[in-house]
C-alpha cells in the first residue's frame, strides 16, 4: 500500500452550534484519485476546507505530508501550500485580471522563473484544459464551465503534489467532462499526483476513482476501492451505484 499524504484524526467541524463533520477518521494515499461522495449539503466542501485550513476544525487533527497542517503555524502552512492546488466549487478566479494572469499568479509568487517561461507554462496549462483561445479574457467573459476549467489550470500551475477539486465537472458537457477526467488521470500518472475529487457524476467516478469515500450527515458511511464500492452492501452506496442518485 502506498503511504498516506493526508491523515485525518477525529475531525469535528461546526458552524456555530451546528455540527457538520462529526468525527472523521480518514487517510488519503499518494498517487491515488480519491472521490468524496455524498448528498448535497452533507459536508463535502466543508471537509475539503477543513483539510486545507480554510475552516478551522473544532477538534481533531489534519496531517499533510506527515506534518500537522493548519493556519496556526503560518510559515509551515505557507510552504506546504505551494505543494497543494485547490479548485474551488465556484472557481474563485480573481475577477479583475485575465485568465492568463490568474494562472500566472502562483508561478509569479512562488518561483523565480523569468517571464517568457512563465508565459509558456501558463499557455501550456490553459491548453491542457482547452482554454488557450480564451487566455486574455476576463473571468466575467467566460461561461460557468470555462471558469471551472480556468480555475483548474490555476490549481495545477505549480504542478502540485496534492490536488483538491470540488466538483470539477459540474456544469460541463459530457465530452469536456471526460477530457478533464483524462487530464486528472494523466497528472496522477505523470507526476504521481494525489487527487481528492468531490463529484456526483457516476460516469466520472467510474473513470477516475481509485478510492471512494462516502459521506453522510457528517460521518463516513463507506471507504474503500471502487471495486469494493460497487459490490458494497451499505444500502446508500448500493443505491447510488445502481441509480446514480442518493
Amino acid at each position: 500500500m502506498s503511504n498516506a499524504v493526508i491523515q485525518i484524526k477525529d475531525l469535528i467541524t461546526q458552524y456555530g452550534d451546528k455540527t457538520i463533520l462529526d468525527g472523521i477518521n480518514l487517510d488519503f494515499y499518494s498517487g491515488q484519485v480519491t472521490v468524496i461522495l455524498g448528498g448535497s449539503g452533507c459536508g463535502k466542501t466543508t471537509l475539503l476546507k477543513s483539510i486545507i485550513g480554510l475552516v478551522s476544525p473544532t477538534a481533531g487533527e489534519v496531517r499533510i505530508f506527515g506534518e500537522p497542517f493548519g493556519a496556526a503555524d503560518e510559515a509551515h502552512y505557507n510552504t506546504t501550500l505551494r505543494r497543494i492546488g485547490v479548485l474551488f466549487q465556484n472557481g474563485a478566479l480573481l475577477n479583475s485580471i485575465s485568465i492568463a494572469e490568474n494562472v500566472a499568479i502562483p508561478l509569479e509568487q512562488h518561483t523565480h522563473l523569468d517571464h517568457s517561461l512563465i508565459d509558456t507554462i501558463v499557455m501550456t496549462k490553459l491548453h491542457m484544459v482547452g482554454l488557450d483561445h480564451a487566455a486574455n479574457l476576463l473571468p466575467s467573459e467566460l461561461s460557468g464551465g470555462m471558469r471551472k476549467r480556468a480555475a483548474l489550470a490555476r490549481a495545477i500551475a505549480l504542478d502540485p503534489e496534492l490536488l483538491f477539486c470540488d466538483e470539477p465537472s459540474a456544469g460541463l458537457d459530457p465530452v469536456t467532462s471526460a477530457a478533464l477526467d483524462n487530464l486528472i488521470l494523466t497528472l496522477r500518472d505523470q507526476l504521481n499526483m494525489s487527487v481528492v475529487v468531490v463529484t456526483h457524476e457516476l460516469a466520472s467516478i467510474h473513470r477516475i476513482a481509485d478510492r471512494i469515500v462516502f459521506l453522510d450527515q457528517g460521518k463516513i458511511l463507506f471507504c474503500g476501492s471502487l471495486a469494493e464500492a460497487k459490490t458494497s452492501n451499505v444500502s446508500e452506496v448500493e443505491l447510488f451505484f445502481k441509480t446514480g442518485s442518493f
Binding site: 480554510l54 480573481l94 502562483p106 509568487q109
Partner: protein, 368 residues
Amino acid sequence: MAKKTSDHIQKPARIYYQDTQLILEGPLSNQTIPALQKQLKRMQLDIVGTIDISAVNYIDSAGVAFLEELTDRTGSTIDLLKANENGQRALETFSSRKNQKPEYLPEPGFFESIGNAVYDIKDSAINFLYLTSEVVLWSFYGIVHPGSRRKGSVIQQSYLIGSNAVGIIALLSFVLGLILALQSAAQLRQFGANIYVADLIAISMVREMGPMMTAIIIAGRSGSAFAAEISTMKVTEELDALQMMAINPISYVVVPKFLAITICMPLLVTLSMILGIMGGFVIGLTYLDLTFVSYFNETISILTAEDLLVGLSKSVFFAWVIVIIGSYFGFKAQGGAAGVGKVTTSAVVASIFAVIFLDALFSLIYMI
C-alpha cells in the same frame, strides 16, 4: 392550448355542505382558493365527516395545502375513493404531511443579547486592531520588497483613488471657498475688514476644510469601493483562493490601496486648499473690491509652514482611517450580494464618522 389550461384553472370553484359532507367543485388552484376561503367563512359547519372532491377537476399545491388545512380544522377526512386519479396524485405529490419543521434557533433573551453585544464589540475591536497592525506591517514589507506586490497595482490604485477624484474635489473645494467667503464677507464688510476674508479662507481651507472635505469625498468614493471590492472577493471565495496560493490577502489587496492613498491624499488636499482659496479670491475680487495683489499678499503672509503641515499630516491620518475601515468592513462581509451592499454602506458611514471624530481630536490636540 396554454391559454385554455389557465382558463380552466381560473374558473370559479364552489364549496357547499350537505349531510355532514363538504363538497367541492371546480378547480382548486392558487387563483380560486381565496374565493373559496371567503365562501367557507360564511358557511356554518356543524359536523364534517368527509370532504368530497370527486367534482374537482384540477388541484395544485395551493389546493392540497387548502384541503389539508380544512381536514385539520374540521377533523374530517378526504374521501379519497371518490377523488379522480389526477387529484390523488396531486395529494400525494404536494402533501405537506411529510415536511420537516425548519430549525429555529431560539431568540436570545435580553441579558443574553447584551452579553453577545459585548462579546461582538470585543471581537470587532480585536479584529480591527489586528487588521491595522497587519496592514501597517505588510505595507512596510511592501515598501522594502516591491517585488511582493503585483506589478503596477499601486499605480493602478493611485489612478482610481487619485486621478479620478481630481475633478470632483476641485469643483467642490472651489464652491466651498466661494460659500465661506460669501458668508463671511457680509459680516466683515460692516467693519471695513474686507481684507481679512483672505486670512479667513486661507486658514480655514488649509487647516480644516481642505483636509476634511477631501477626506469625506474620498471616504464616499474610495472607502465604499474598497469595502465593495474586498467583500465581493470574500463572498466569491477569491480571498480563500489567494490564501490557498499562499498569498496574504492583506498584502495582495490592501497594501496597494494603502500605499496609493497615502501618496494621493496629500496631493488631493493640496489641490483642495488651492481651489478653496481661489474660490474665496473670486468673492474678494468681485464683491469686496480687493485687488489681486493685496489678496495674494495677505494670504501668503498669514499662512505659516505649520498650518500647511497640520493640514497635510491630518490628511494622511484620514487616508489611513479610510483604507483600514473600508477593508475592515470588506473582510467582515458575509453571505452573498446582500452582504456586500450592507458592508459598503456601513464602511462609508463609519469612515465619515471617524474622519470627523479624528478631526475634532486633532483640533483639541493643536489647541493645547
